[in-house]
Symmetry: C2
Subunit: 410 residues, 2 copies
Amino acid sequence: MTGYTLPHSRDACAALDAENPLRAARERFALPEGIIYLDGHSLGPATHGALARVEQAAKREWAEGLIRSWNTAGWIDLPHTVGAKLARLISVDADAVIVTDSVSVNLFKLAAAALPVARSRTLIVEASEFPTDQYVAEGLAGISGARLMRVEEDRGLEALMETGGILIRSIVNYRTSHVMDVAEAEAMAHTSGGVIVWDLSHATGVLELNLANSGARLASGCTYKFLNGGPGAPSFVYAEAELARRMASPISGWFGHADPFAFTPGYAPKDGVARFAAGTPGVLSLSALDAALDAFEGLALRDVCAKARALGDLVIARAEGIGLEAISPRAASMRGGHVSLRHEQGYAIVQALIARGIIPDFRAPDAMRFGVAPLYVRFVDVWDAMDQLADIVETRAWDRPEFHARAKVT
Amino acid sequence: MTGYTLPHSRDACAALDAENPLRAARERFALPEGIIYLDGHSLGPATHGALARVEQAAKREWAEGLIRSWNTAGWIDLPHTVGAKLARLISVDADAVIVTDSVSVNLFKLAAAALPVARSRTLIVEASEFPTDQYVAEGLAGISGARLMRVEEDRGLEALMETGGILIRSIVNYRTSHVMDVAEAEAMAHTSGGVIVWDLSHATGVLELNLANSGARLASGCTYKFLNGGPGAPSFVYAEAELARRMASPISGWFGHADPFAFTPGYAPKDGVARFAAGTPGVLSLSALDAALDAFEGLALRDVCAKARALGDLVIARAEGIGLEAISPRAASMRGGHVSLRHEQGYAIVQALIARGIIPDFRAPDAMRFGVAPLYVRFVDVWDAMDQLADIVETRAWDRPEFHARAKVT
């Protein structure tokens, strides 16, 4: 139910692009010539605004403004002003989001702070969860003495119901792109006395998230994927205000203090989510992210989500024509902003695509991931990419030694 | 014993500048016209190299290279390559330092990882310690069940000897600039079975640190002060290799994993200090820092330290002429790269100086801090700044309402 009709020709794709409500958004991106970029689920491209803003933050604010820019350029407020822009994309109160640290660190803080709030001190992760989420639960169990439960795929809610513990769960799975029903899960959390810490990394900027209405209370996510914040851009924390007031961040750094420049010895947290700030925020990265989020200005999340689904439908339809199996759900409503296809030579096929100027990515052991970021990926891009994929698979063009050499980062 | 003679005139200052072994280093900085910058202990200025590098990282590596730059631009190695540059500045093995997260987060990780290694699960901080260090100890005690001991100024080592716990201690105190004797403290740690986590924030880049020879085993520090890495630049972790192998980071994110792209469910840490990495590194900030550290290239740490001491001696000598009391030690060997002067109207005096283009900073309740970063601060700069300070104090030029309005960040 995307409102789109599946296009069966390149011309039909071009027609969809021409009438698309997001068509102007692509102009906001500084995309390199001759590249079809289908890796926005890993690292979003730069916008013209973000590039200009980085230059301003470095040359004007840092080099000329020096220490004064903490006040005069609003550096001190960036974690909140950028948080407010993010809040719109996940449909929560503007002051319930703060930008700080990495997803790993934020998941740690949130899950740790949830320990005294949940009915039992049990940390739950599914074996199919993004590795860092699993590792963070393991590390937190070690330092806190909480019990670690690693359960099979899709058994997280069952374990939550049993234990009333803390489930760390991605809304969109990094490998399959499968989407979790937040409202249903939160209802179970409510019943069980448990708490869910949502990882929004592959969800924000591509789904029509409505966290507050779904009952979600705690979340973190990454900003360098569909939010285009730049390589290693800082992560964000969402915490529902009333719950936040009952929580203490285990990493109580000075930027989470109610009065950081009073230099008092005892810790008094800021109100609400702001207590999850820790050290001094990274201004250059935060500035890039601030400007990058303006790419969403004037766009309806409903349109963003609908186009992502339609693009994903096209990937799957063309893949079936090539005889490739989709790991991702066929139903668009069950899928995030990327589509994973399975092939035992997936790694080499992805390298062959990259050599032709088409950039998806690969996740071990066999998943080729095609990101369909709706702000800049067009239907013709998907069409052309799938033409090349078909050719590579049919001619076994992947069967060359250089496509099998593993890079450090895949 | 700086090898300098105290200058008694502006001409004598100019003569010292003309013959100074660091005189060429100032050219590496993009300093604004008409400003005397004495706040490098809070935020170092930009170098030309850092500004160019930020532009390259954004426009070339991110916008054009996209995801490929993790491999082709060496992003994935930055935490280590930048760490190796830092290692030289603190005299430890090149592979014993990694750049990651903020100081708050890193102190948390190191102190937490030291809990099973120290003789007792006691976290010790002095009441005069930088607030975030105190707060971090408090938060860690909460989540780990370790005992928190907050002791009076200079009583940390005594508590360490008594308990065999973990002392979090700055080498240079943020307020007084007092320097700790690392070798002596580490000898006591060794005897007691305790562990010291050093905070190098106000020390690196201005002292002739020799951590390995002094027996230091764990440290973190900030890179945006005397290292000029940029606003909120990432922090670093030093861990002695053998000790690191016996430690586990409580925040076990995927970048600390031995094989982060294998996506295996169980956590297996990288060897050595690299296990203290957590989330995806912030590439824009790391790139700025990487280039900024090149400002130290070809400079002897001994010369850097000697000039800082001589500049600090000049601040104190001139301050005494004005009748201002120094909070910082008079003995140069006991002092870091900033000098704190006491005045009950310190806040307003600092604002009056800033209005005249001279930028020190202020720490509550009464400390005016003058940073003498030896790479770009000249003897004539200190001389001129002290002339203005004398005038402001003598004419009570601070006594205007606008100099009393408190900014968010001081």
